[in-house]
């Protein structure tokens, strides 16, 4: 079973270690593929890491005119192939999550590819390795999508277009307002 990113928004402390780890990775040219967003600047200091959501039907790859963005067999959506990418920015317009960026100097798109060099060999992605609070975890897909101790979301409705992603987001429990790690109890189910 393929492993996916699981991101628990509640645990993020905004340290930006994931961005640093991503920048330092070989081949990333000090351009982070991971973004840390302030959720509501001025109101709260809450932040959340935003990696590639690795959609089941990636709009970026389907909009690419030269098919530079490819999906691997285990579902990871790769960054643009250096030979093919023409920096047309179609993917940046197509992606509803705003993940692909274009390096204007080198005229090439860059985005998170789930550290495919590492994950294909069984290692977790760099952002998972460096996250000090376990905000970003690397779990089995089925396990992450069936999390019992927390509400998770992996289907996103953009005005009627439902996009299913492989990256799973754990969202705050607004029913009981419990946070952190919890034992699975009967009343939650």
């Amino acid at each position: 079973m393929a492993k996916v990113l699981y991101i628990d928004f509640e645990r993020c402390i905004g340290c930006r270690a994931c961005m640093l780890g991503c920048e330092e990775c070989s081949g990333h040219d000090h351009l982070s593929r991971m973004f840390v967003d302030e959720l509501n600047p001025g109101e709260t200091v809450a932040t959340s890491p935003t990696p590639c959501m690795h959609c089941v039907q990636p709009a970026c790859a389907e909009s690419c005119p030269v098919q530079a963005i490819q999906v691997t067999e285990d579902g990871a959506v790769l960054s643009a192939s250096h030979e093919k990418c023409i920096a047309c920015k179609n993917c940046t317009y197509a992606c509803p999550f705003g993940i692909p960026r274009v390096d204007e100097q080198r005229k090439i798109m860059y985005k998170c590819d789930l550290c495919y060099d590492r994950t294909s060999k069984g290692r977790p992605p760099m952002c998972v390795s460096v996250c000090p609070t376990d905000t970003i975890q690397f779990l089995d897909e089925a396990e992450a999508k069936a999390k019992l101790d927390k509400q998770v979301q992996f289907k996103w409705d953009f005005g009627g277009t439902v996009i299913e992603t492989r990256t799973v987001i754990g969202i705050p429990d607004l029913q009981t307002h419990r946070y952190g790690y919890n034992e699975v109890t009967e009343d939650v189910l």
Partner: protein, 173 residues
Amino acid sequence: MIKRFEKYLRDISLNIRRETELDMNRRGFVAASLGLIAVFFLSSIPFVAQAYRKTVEEKPDRIKIAGPDELRVGDSKTFAYPNPNDPAILVRVSEKEYRSYHIKCTHLQCPIYWDKTSGKLMCPCHNGFFSVEDGSVLAGPPQRSLPSIKLSIKKDGIYAVGVIHGTHGGKTV
């Protein structure tokens, strides 16, 4: 069903799966194009066969068009052959020689008549002239000779037995 069809369309139009990347490279595209050409070719075979059968079936009947001395030398007679909408003319050019042609002018299909004084077949619309000897164009806008009708002259009359289609510009075959 609709979802599966959409997935199929996505699969054939989007080449984003890494494991199938080479199925849709340039070579695959060329192979698919050649396959499409082959499909078109094969699908045209029934139509070709039908058209061929039609041409084979078109062996015109043998009909009697005039009596043995119905026409005097230099006279003509119109008839229709092989179908009622194929008007034709029979001309007796000498004691023993007859000529017969379709009279739809090869320019714009005006009816041609036999001009006895000049000894030519003439089209009144745009002054086209045809030779009575072989149906070839002598003057005017027509580009093709007239289709001629094969005759069989018997004791009891003159029979039309077939059609020789006109050729471009020159003599009939």
